[in-house]
Symmetry: none
Subunit: 235 residues, 2 copies
DNA sequence: AAGTGGTCTAGACCACTTG
DNA sequence: AAGTGGTCTAGACCACTTG
């Protein structure tokens, strides 16, 4: 099996919604109807509906049915933006300084995050993104070599890791955590921080259809970087 | 049935993690082991593990097992959640300590953020949210009195400002910025921080159909709070 | 009464990892 | 070879909403 059945049903529903055939707030087929239509068990149809509900695309009501949620509520607080574009968009001069580019043996937490075997080879890059020659963000990234075998051959002064990986293995999913940290010695060196200024750390795992592509720590001085977001609610 | 079985298993796992019995990154029982232990079907044990994984509490690897993820509190960047629910959902005891509840004259930045005239009266509240009697988040909020005239009469030990305002003036829109800061003296006092630990600050403006309802600063110790997010890409 | 979603069972086959 | 998580089946009973 290449694409799981529940994923096919999700795709089918998303396509109906995107095409406009199933408008906002309209009722969509019930679990039982999908069960017949796709010749699957109810648990499988249900999984598609449950996941789309968690993703904010559908809403469900016991006894009533399943409905298309409002489109507006789907905007995300954290867009995945390419930092080079971000800097250029606000008129800054973007440069990048690669510091490390290597293969290494994955210790357990990295192997687990990447979904590879412990001690297998993974790629690691460390680079610093500059805005107008001032360090804006340090990026330490671990890459699954199976999904991006030519990662180490790239010239990261020309293309950001995020740009390259988006081409090499199209993203299907990302998870992040955001926290405030005291920078480690490494980070202070990378960002040339002389004081222990609070830093904003984003940890991001990205998936393509074949699995986890990479696992990155993005660290920026608190005084120079913030994240912004915008949400709209239904009704 | 009062508490579903999958929820009981989730609670069991969370308790083990909170008690320290199952430390960070340790392996926890497999689906099959839980199946025996709780006399449930594998699908039910699996549901508990799947949901905890989506909540960022566990990580899973095919062939390897299921592991405890890091400890810090998580919240979704993609939705506006009520902090009381967030704490309760992970099995913590939620309490709230209101510190300030007053009307004041709006200085310029606050008046602008709220869309009212400079020097007009606005409401201000400061309260601290506790998880298991430890300060988790300080909240300083400025409220537009035209849209929530009875704000100061509420008992914020019973209902959070966010809950109350959601009822009083249904939200239509929110904007936030997230950044890492060094806590001010005020914040250190509110959170009883003795060191200048980096803090995560979320600034949030919320709108109802009639305008800006409130403007809040939510500040949490970096060691105790993180935001999490989950994105799915569509094609 | 009929349909909906919510929970659950007791199986099955599979891909993946480890000994 | 044995254990792990990932997908799936064909049923079941339930609470809830509607006609």
């Amino acid at each position: 099996m290449i694409t799981p059945k529940f994923a096919q049903i999700k795709r089918f529903i998303i396509d109906k919604i995107k095409s406009g055939e199933w408008p906002e707030h309209s009722r969509i087929p019930s679990e039982n109807e999908l069960t017949v239509q796709f010749s699957v068990s109810r648990m499988t149809a249900r999984r598609a509906l449950t996941e789309l509900t968690e993703e904010g695309i559908l809403t469900r009501s016991q006894g009533l049915g399943t409905f298309v949620a409002s489109f507006k509520s789907q905007s995300s607080l954290l867009e995945i933006r390419n930092i080079a574009d971000e800097v250029k968009d606000r008129g800054g001069q973007y440069t990048c300084n690669p510091i490390v580019l290597e293969s290494m043996q994955a210790i357990a937490p990295i192997a687990i995050a990447l979904g590879v075997e412990v001690d297998s080879l993974v790629y690691r890059s460390v680079l610093v993104h500059f805005e107008n020659d001032k360090p804006l963000q340090a990026e330490e990234r671990f890459v699954n070599p199976n999904l991006a075998p030519e990662y180490l051959q790239q010239n990261f002064e020309q293309i950001t890791p995020h740009e390259y990986l988006s081409q090499a293995a199209p993203l299907t999913e990302a998870r992040h955590t955001v926290e405030a940290i005291t920078p480690s010695d490494d980070v202070c060196e990378w960002l040339t921080l002389y004081n222990l200024e609070p830093c904003l750390q984003v940890i991001r795992r990205t998936w393509s259809s074949k699995g986890v592509v990479s696992f990155a720590r993005l660290i920026s001085p608190g005084s120079k970087y913030r994240l912004g977001g915008h949400l709209t609610f239904k009704k």
